[in-house]
Amino acid sequence: MEGEAIQFFSYCMLVAGFAVAIAAAGCALPMGLSIKSAVEGIARNPESSGRVTVTLLIGLALIEALCIYTLVVSLIIIYAAPVVQTVTNLL
């Protein structure tokens, strides 16, 4: 039982770490693309920089939110691990 619990705990840690890593890798590409387009737009038409920056910030926040959801899920995995142990003991 002790070994199983430690194995379960290490799986939880592994999953939580890799979840955020994969999500960050996935979010980095669209964020880079959107910043690239925004910078190009500002370079061509510097007067529009205010509007472009605001739109860029909203878009970045919406993309970043996906990564943050993964962070919340992995926080749940990490902090729920002891609770799950007591539940599996009951079964």
Binding site: V54, Y69, L75
Partner: protein, 229 residues
């Protein structure tokens, strides 16, 4: 993440409310932020004059800047819901910044606080819609043509409910992540000032997150005001 020393929790222990203070530090600190904002507002508005003194000048700059921006985003109708969104912006901004001060705690690093900001936005959106369009507000949920309504109704309802989820989870996740990173860096190498660069980043992050919460609320209100055909 348990913080080593929280100044106001210790103060509440002296009064004899230690159980409450230890269980709910985010409530204590949201009271602190509220008190700070109320006192700042009272000092600034104590003697309002045509030639402003220093405090009034600072507050006028902040408020008029925010108001111009809101009207820019939402049109002239934005002026009457401006107090609501400006309050939310200032409260979230100062809550985010509170986590950087030693002995303080960000109230927004708790899901209850962020939900308590997101749910009023949800209800106020529909209040604005019903107030402006009356019963015709239902058209916002029915899609472009009337016979598509059974298809569009559930989708629109879910998307409105998902706004609450995304608003609250985004803010909570960002600020909690910041607090955890600060705590871990402090434990690892606090003597060598390792958390300092992250603290600089945290000021920017706090501003951007408060700004995004404010901007998305303004856009939801503007969408509710907009005429649907």
């Amino acid at each position: 993440m348990e913080h080593p020393f929280l100044f106001f929790v210790k103060l509440f222990e002296l009064v004899g409310l230690d159980h409450f203070a230890h269980d709910y530090p985010h409530i204590i600190y949201s009271w602190v932020i509220m008190a700070l904002l109320i006192i700042a507002g009272a000092i600034g508005a104590r003697q309002v004059s045509l030639i402003p003194n220093k405090a009034q000048n600072v507050l006028e700059t902040i408020i008029s800047g925010l108001e111009e921006f809101t009207v820019d985003m939402a049109g002239e109708e934005g002026r009457w819901f401006f107090p609501f969104v400006a309050t939310i912006f200032l409260y979230i901004f100062f809550s985010n910044l509170a986590g950087i001060v030693p002995g303080f705690f960000s109230p927004t690093a708790d899901l209850n606080t962020t939900l308590s900001c997101a749910i009023p936005v949800f209800f106020f959106t529909h209040y604005i819609g019903v107030r402006i369009h009356g019963a015709g507000y239902i058209k916002h949920f029915m899609g472009p043509v009337w016979w598509m309504a059974p298809l569009f109704m559930p989708i629109e309802l879910i998307s409105h409910l998902a706004r609450v989820l995304s608003l609250s989870f985004r803010l909570f996740g960002n600020i909690t992540g910041k607090e955890i990173i600060l705590g871990i860096l402090f434990m690892l190498a606090g003597a060598f000032l390792a958390p300092l660069p992250i603290m600089v980043l945290a000021i920017f992050l706090g501003f951007v997150q408060a700004f995004i919460f404010y901007l998305l609320s303004v856009m939801y209100f503007a969408l509710a005001i907009e005429e649907m055909h």
